[in-house]
């Protein structure tokens, strides 16, 4: 037999073995692989009592109150490279019978202003809280500026205040980060 059969068998086996290959594939497509997660993340929240806008000791109004927090993840190198768009959503619930101007000032590590935005909040009443929503969409050049920031200063400005002013200004906020890796 068997020698012929054996030779043929061995050759077939060898052909099969050495003919293996990878076909109909294009591994250059790997360059086009893009992770594009969309991440929802809470940002800041606060409750400012109306009394915070009046200095009872000196009997003078405090027309602007402000606070600052670091947001160090924003100027992280990875986020700088991958963030394509950020959509801030602010939801104010106001029971103070005053309008407010709210300023968001983003600062770099050395306190240079990199990005700012401002909105106004409608006045409310103690019995009928008024909700004001504000959406700030940041993309393109704005993203470059935003991702230079590592802190944000939030200022709430009231046109007038007096002792006995009642109510609360509440903020809830979140950011939608549109990433591409």
């Amino acid at each position: 037999m068997n020698s012929n059969f054996t030779a043929v068998f061995c050759m077939l086996f060898a052909c099969l073995f050495f003919s293996s290959c990878i076909r109909d594939t294009d591994f250059d497509q790997a360059e086009n692989i893009t992770l594009a997660p969309i991440v929802e993340l809470d940002l800041i929240y606060f409750n400012i009592e109306a009394s915070r806008f009046f200095d009872t000791i000196n009997a003078v109004p405090i027309l602007t109150v402000r606070d600052t927090t670091e947001i160090r993840f924003l100027d992280d190198g990875t986020l700088q490279e991958s963030l394509k768009r950020a959509e801030f959503y602010f939801k104010f619930t106001n029971t103070i019978p005053r309008e407010f101007q709210i300023d968001f000032q983003f600062l770099s590590e050395v306190n240079d202003t990199t990005y700012t935005t401002v909105t106004s909040v409608a006045e409310g009443t103690l019995t009928a809280p008024v909700i004001t929503e504000f959406i700030e969409n940041v993309e393109g050049e704005g993203i470059l500026q935003l991702t230079q920031a590592d802190k944000v200063v939030v200022s709430a400005t009231i046109p007038s205040a007096e002792e006995g002013l009642k109510g609360t200004l509440n903020l809830k906020s979140k950011t939608t980060y549109f990433l591409e890796h």
């Binding site: 061995c10 109909d24 992770l35 929802e40 809830k172």
Partner: protein, 471 residues
């Protein structure tokens, strides 16, 4: 090189244990079949593996996706294919890789008719289950998955790089029964595992009473990674130093373990034969260069709560961000531990039932390979079952095989296997003797062999031995 890496990543993901050697099991013409059943039939009088060439085995597999699935040519977008696959695959799908290199292997039949065999081989094993939830989170983010509980228990992966010293005995204790055992000493050079994790992450939309828009909650988290042989590598500079350090542990330099292989072979009658083996029943005791990490706890993130404290000009406000980081670290601490741990080897069980026909007579004149009354047949067909005990669950495979001895110097075995990877795995092995030099070559997934990209697993074993037959 780049393509090679992409293939590895796409096809295997990383490195594991897909150790089913269905063609080699029971392929008695190859001395290395003794490594799969220490109680197998031994046809030769002595064998010496050619050092570093007697058994080379590589195997990679992915139960849920092939390179072709992702990288096939077409007009559709590769990202759409990946998205589709992420949702098609299950959290029980896995990526595996195994590599074995025999350094030495030898055996001889002593005067008491016991066949002694021993050797040293190096082995690399890896398995990672597909963490589907985390893949979705990384690929899609959480926006479209509010209230969805991302499950940390899907994280399950182990990896080992070790040297194995072994010595076995094989004896035919009756005309029908052959039994064998092999003692193994494991010397682990590098090992890690992350199994039995738990916990979940969920983003819930808050209600009126919530502090903020969402509640990002990590609940009952308990995620750990155990490593040995890793801590001392961290300070090293470059791949060269790392490689040198790891290889330096190859000879009794690492963490030790012991295990046994057991097996038998029983001729039910002239035609039918039953065999079984249990391999790597043992454990490695990690005590040197051990470093373990564990993160556990509960935490709900609401964002940063601004207080607007009354401050004099120039006074700093509260360090909200630092406080938040400290709070998270306190609630979900990441501990570094140095406690010893025991890692059980992934035990494997083989079972074989074969039916032989056509008495083998190589020369036509005498039954040269059958002098000791071993029931060698010209052809065998049969069934084999294989189980390996993995971190999540045993993985099983069933094979039908056909084995044929063409001549005293040439035999072949073909298999059809159903396993976690596919229902169409055809394998073939060839053992040829050129004088006293034995060469064998085994591969599987023949259907996909002309286009390996479509294969969900590939396996290759080959080697050279110097064999002295019974006279």
């Amino acid at each position: 090189m780049r393509n090679f890496l992409i293939i590895i990543i796409a096809l295997q993901g990383s490195f594991v244990m897909a150790q089913n050697k269905q063609v080699l099991y029971g392929f008695d013409d190859v001395p290395q079949s003794l490594m799969l059943n220490p109680g197998g039939k031994v046809l030769q009088k002595k064998h010496y593996g050619i050092p570093f060439l007697s058994h080379i085995h590589v195997n990679g597999g992915s139960s849920g996706v092939s390179a072709y699935d992702i990288f096939k040519e077409g007009n559709d977008n590769i990202n759409d294919r990946i998205t589709q696959k992420i949702f098609e695959m299950r959290n029980t799908d896995f990526f595996t890789a195994t590599q074995q290199l025999e350094i030495i292997n030898f055996g001889w039949r002593a005067k008491n008719e016991i066949y002694f065999s021993g050797g040293i081989y190096q082995e690399f094993d890896f398995i990672a289950y597909f963490p589907k939830d985390l893949a979705i989170l990384a690929w899609e983010g959480n926006r479209d998955y509010l209230n969805y509980e991302f499950d940390f228990s899907e994280i399950s992966t182990t990896g080992d790089f070790m040297t194995v010293y072994h010595f076995g005995i094989n004896k035919r204790i009756s005309k029908k029964l052959t039994v064998g055992a092999r003692l193994k000493l494991y010397s682990s050079m590098f090992s890690y595992r992350s199994v039995n994790n738990s916990g979940l992450f969920v983003t819930r939309l808050g209600d009126e009473n919530s502090e903020n828009i969402y509640e990002h909650t990590v609940q009952n988290a308990d995620v750990s990674v155990q490593t040995s042989g890793y801590a001392s590598l961290r300070e090293l500079d470059g791949a060269g130093q790392v490689t040198s350090k790891i290889l330096g542990r190859a000879f009794f330099g690492g963490n030790f373990g012991v295990g046994v292989d057991l097996g038998f072979n029983y001729d039910l009658n002239e035609a039918w034969n039953l065999s079984a083996s249990a391999l790597d029943v043992g454990a490695i005791f990690h005590s040197k260069d051990v470093e373990n990490y564990r993160a556990s706890g509960n935490y709900t993130l609401d964002g940063i709560n601004l207080i607007f404290p009354p401050l004099a000009d120039g006074d700093p406000t509260f360090p909200y961000y630092d406080n938040l980081e400290d709070e998270i670290k306190a609630e979900i601490p990441v501990d570094t531990l140095y406690n010893n741990y025991t890692q059980f080897r992934p035990a494997k069980i083989n079972l074989g039932l074969s039916y032989g026909f056509g008495r083998f007579n190589a020369s036509g004149a005498c039954d040269c390979l059958n002098m000791d009354q071993n029931n060698l047949h010209k052809q065998n067909i049969g069934l084999q079952l294989y189980t390996i005990f993995r971190p999540k669950r045993p993985q099983m495979a069933a094979s039908l095989f056909y084995q044929r001895r063409f001549a005293s110097y040439l035999s072949a075995k073909a298999t059809y296997t159903v396993d976690s990877y596919s229902f169409s795995n055809f394998g073939i092995g060839l053992s040829a003797d050129i004088g006293k030099l034995n060469f064998y070559l085994i591969t599987d997934n023949l259907i996909n062999y002309t286009n390996l990209a479509k294969a969900k697993s590939v396996s290759l074993q080959l080697g050279f031995n110097y064999i002295i037959d019974e006279e």
